[in-house]
């Protein structure tokens, strides 16, 4: 593992593990966030018969960098009657909550930020950490609209944890382990061995698993949409009613922080569902490295496949954003408690019964 290699390289274990856990932050998240924003604007433009940004740089590729530069030189306004300490720390809390989860994502067999046995449990715990940041931002802005936005988002994220966790529990009941690295390894190199299609289990059980696992993935995907505040659940920042929800008062670099946190969160959520349901870093049709006999190519292929599947799911989230209208707060709650949670429980029971048929 790279973390052990780094530990010897720096001599002391803690420093080595720290750096290996922080590696994804610099190598992947910043470039990814920049081009996710650009991709979102291009995808939404193409879906709406427009062309989207194509002026800054070749085909508009430098557009987001221009935006970030613009945001940096913008004045960083703190409203007069704002609660200054809360106002300033809120974006960093959300940023931390989102990017802490990257440490446990299995990028490839060779590299994983920190190979902890409770990978899934850790990620779900950390990702609900950013709720506090949203509440701080909403309250500190001392603006009625952002107060509303904050109240709504707390209710939404907390209540959507339940179906998300239930869906994960059904999957873990089939898989058996919480360690993300092992989960990915168990889904060996053909796509019919992915967990969503029953995983490497033999016999009749594999076919019985397929339907419940697909339902579990759908429930998890919808619940994760709500956790990331994406349409049709983007009520905390509903432009048409609440102007801009909890980040109404933020300008300049702080607003950019919110923006990056949102896109980072989108990737975390899709990375989890990829590693649990869609075979993590396993390639669907075998490795080029094996057939060509170059062994060092395999880890790179694995990283490519992991990021590719993650980005595919991010694109689906963007696709949904430009198609669906927005739910109202009480409909959001009724969808969670009356529809998603019961279906998740039924699914859990069915999978429980299937695991007993040996």
């Amino acid at each position: 593992m790279i973390s052990d290699y780094l530990a010897e390289f720096f001599g002391n274990k803690i420093l080595g593990y720290l750096i290996s856990a922080a590696l994804p932050l610099f190598l992947w998240i910043l470039p990814y966030a920049l081009y996710a924003v650009y991709a979102e604007r291009k995808v939404s433009a193409f879906m709406q018969d427009r062309i989207g940004p194509n002026r800054v740089g070749p085909k508009g590729l430098l557009q987001t960098i221009a935006d970030i530069l613009k945001l940096i030189q913008k004045e960083d306004i703190v409203p007069a009657s704002a609660d200054k300490p809360l106002f300033v720390t809120a974006p960093y809390v959300i940023f931390a909550g989102t990017f802490a989860a990257f440490a446990a994502l299995p990028f490839s067999s060779v590299y994983i930020g920190s190979n902890i046995d409770l990978g899934v449990f850790y990620i779900m715990a950390v990702s609900s950490f950013s709720v506090i940041g949203i509440l701080m931002a909403g309250w500190a802005g001392n603006n009625k609209y952002s107060l509303y936005g904050a109240m709504r988002s707390v209710a939404q994220i907390v209540s959507y944890e339940v179906p998300a966790l239930l869906a994960i529990v059904t999957a873990v009941m089939v898989i058996g382990t919480l360690n993300l690295n092992e989960i990915s390894q168990m889904q060996t190199s053909r796509f019919w061995n992915w967990w969503i299609l029953g995983g490497p289990v033999e016999g009749i059980q594999k076919f019985l698993y397929i339907i419940p696992m697909i339902i579990a993935f759908i429930i998890f995907f919808i619940a994760s949409l709500a956790e990331v505040n994406r349409t049709p659940f983007d009520i905390p920042e509903a432009e048409s009613e609440l102007v801009a929800g909890f980040h109404t008062e933020y300008t300049g670099m702080k607003f950019a922080m919110f923006f990056l946190a949102e896109y980072g969160n989108m990737f975390v959520v899709s990375a989890i569902s990829v590693s649990i349901f869609f075979g993590g870093w396993q390639s669907p049709f075998g490795y080029l490295g094996n057939s060509l006999g170059i062994n060092w190519l395999i880890p790179i292929e694995q990283v490519f496949w992991f990021l590719f599947k993650g980005s595919l799911l991010v694109l689906v989230q963007m696709w949904l954003r430009w198609t669906l209208p927005r739910l109202r707060v009480d409909q959001l709650m009724s969808l969670c408690w009356k529809y998603l949670t019961p279906y998740a429980f039924i699914n859990l029971v069915i999978v429980g019964i299937i695991t007993l048929i040996k």
Partner: protein, 188 residues
């Protein structure tokens, strides 16, 4: 219970139908054009910036009366009988010096009411729509081709002609009444 399942099914089905529509638009040809490089070809009746061909203008003030926002100001000076001001394109003889013909295009509401009453069709709307300025005063277009000194000079010699005519009439009035006075006053 049936209602519950129907809601779930409707929820999933209509969302997928909506997604099919947006996906189909992903590959349709785009509608927008790249404005500064590619420009829309305006139809020939497009009503944008006003233009006045001042040589044809006979200073009849029809357009400024027809304008609902009074953004056209015209000042004219009668021509002294001796001067010849030439003929407009459609054969009307010009009798007035147009010393000032200003259009405040910032006030103009582009309704086109001034174009129709013009007897010599010397005012019309072109299809130029990019004429923004940095200073508001530049939006007041001066179409008169007389420089300020010429305008002043025209006013002066018209005023001189007026006094001379008034003196002549006064002179005639004195000669017409019974006591004949030597009428040398009307030659100079």
């Amino acid at each position: 219970m049936k209602e519950y399942l129907r809601n779930t099914w409707l929820g999933i089905y209509t969302v997928l139908v909506g997604m099919k529509v947006t996906l189909s638009h992903l590959f349709k040809p785009k509608v927008t054009i790249q404005y500064p490089d590619v420009r829309i070809q305006l139809p020939e009746r497009a009503r944008n910036r006003l233009y006045v061909n001042i040589d044809d203008c006979i200073g009849c003030d029809q357009c400024s009366r027809a304008c609902p926002v009074d953004c056209i100001e015209i000042e004219t000076v009668k021509a002294v009988p001796g001067e010849n001001l030439g003929i407009t394109s459609n054969g009307k003889r010009k009798a007035l010096w147009v010393t000032k013909f200003d259009i405040d295009i910032a006030k103009c509401c582009y309704c086109g009411l001034c174009v129709y009453p013009c007897p010599t069709e010397c005012i019309w709307m072109t299809d130029v729509y990019e004429f923004s300025e940095y200073r508001r005063e530049d939006l007041i277009y001066h179409f008169s081709n007389l420089s300020p000194e010429e305008a002043l000079q025209k006013k002066l010699n018209y005023k001189k002609f007026e006094e001379e005519k008034a003196r002549q009439k006064a002179a005639q009035a004195t000669t017409a009444n019974p006591n004949p006075k030597q009428d040398s006053g009307n030659e100079n």
